[in-house]
Amino acid sequence: MDIWEDWLELVKKGNFTIQICIDCNKSQFYPRSFCQFCNGKNLELVSYKDQAHIYSFTEILRSPNPEKFTPPYFIGLVEIDNAIKVICQLNLNKDEISIGKPVKFKELTNDGIIIFH
């Protein structure tokens, strides 16, 4: 579990990172202790390179946990570098949200919420 706590602490500093395998050059998210593609252990955490866009989205109108989340808000399934999917919150207005729209990483909150905008 330390690998995930470490990742959260790192990303809170402002860069959304994914694991790249130095041996096979493939990327993976969430972080793992080895490369799921070539089974190598030479993994490096790097900021994502190319672009991120909205693959899908949903507007939440009922709270899963009223103490933590106040609807309405948007959840995004964001595709990064055409390889990786991330569930996050979208800090955008309703009319700014559509499938395919480019987005950028904004922040990881202290509550562990990944925000793209």
Partner: protein, 381 residues
Amino acid sequence: MNSASINFAADNTPFDEPKSIYEIQAESILEILNKAGLQTKDIDGLATNGVERFSSVGMSEYLGIKPKWSESSFLGGSSYLTFIKRAIEAVELGYCNVAIVSYGSNQRSAKSRKLGGVIEDHTPQKYFEYSQGILSPLSLYALVAQRAFHEWEINSEDLAEIAVLARKHALLNEKAFTFGKKELSVDEVIDSGVISSPLHKLDCCLVTDGGGAVLITNDDISKSLNLPQIKVKGFSQLDTHISYSQMPNYLITGAEHTSKQSLVDAKMKLDDIDMLQVYDSFTITVLSTLASIGLDQPKNIIEKIKSGYFSLDGELPLNTSGGGLSYCHPGMLGLLLTIEAVNQLSNNFDNRQIDNPSTALIHATGGVFSTHATMVLEKVM
């Protein structure tokens, strides 16, 4: 090697009188044993899950039995198709002779279901997904639906047709939660309100109590007792992911592989199938599954629903009980899909019986399209 068959199946939906998980299962088990002329002491194999940490053992103890074979893998909604296949194999290999596969849930009366889902603190899903504020699994199916709107050019009205069809069938099922209500319209589904866009309240399955049991025996036993025999002709399982971010394809799921493979296993084609029972946790689950099975293009599938293709007297009746959307959804539906197929194949119904079916294809999924199992059943004439 022995041969084995499914003989009887019974469901149990105690909506008005809350019962324990053990009691719900026991009621259906006793019903099918009684039909077969057997007693609990004859059971030597049992598969169940979701009862307690030692699920099969706890249920066996309640029944007062000491099985030689048991199974409690947790695969969510598809668990019970896998259990039935494993039970058939266990009888064929001689590990047991009389096996019960049973399930029960009192999630509605016990108020044990949470909108945020079940969160396990040590899992990647907790770190990377539940922390984002999703309704689980609703929002994750909503993300599939939104993507389907984009790629398949369908809309909320199209998905609503699936809920409308389910209700039609449930109105003929006196054990259904919505029995005695009226037909749904597309407008009523839309007007039920969006919870996680684009899915509305009536795009979602029910949250109910319920359960059931299936009896599987060695064919020597079923012949001596003159029991009906239904064969598992084809089976295929595939587990693809549990974290949503790891789902290999958001529209065409593991059902593509398992449906194809189960038909190969059965030496059949889709044309040979007389009915479909597919998991309907949400309206989008049905459309995605039928598209993955390769039935038709998604838009054509919607047109087929409207034209009666999947109705009780249609070409390929679908979810004849009313399914999770309108009959009963006690947390996991896989066993109830199978029970409906077995009873249809046995011509056990009066008002919703389809015309003398001999084969059924059942598809169940668990998690968010995470686990898949397809089973092809054929009755022995």
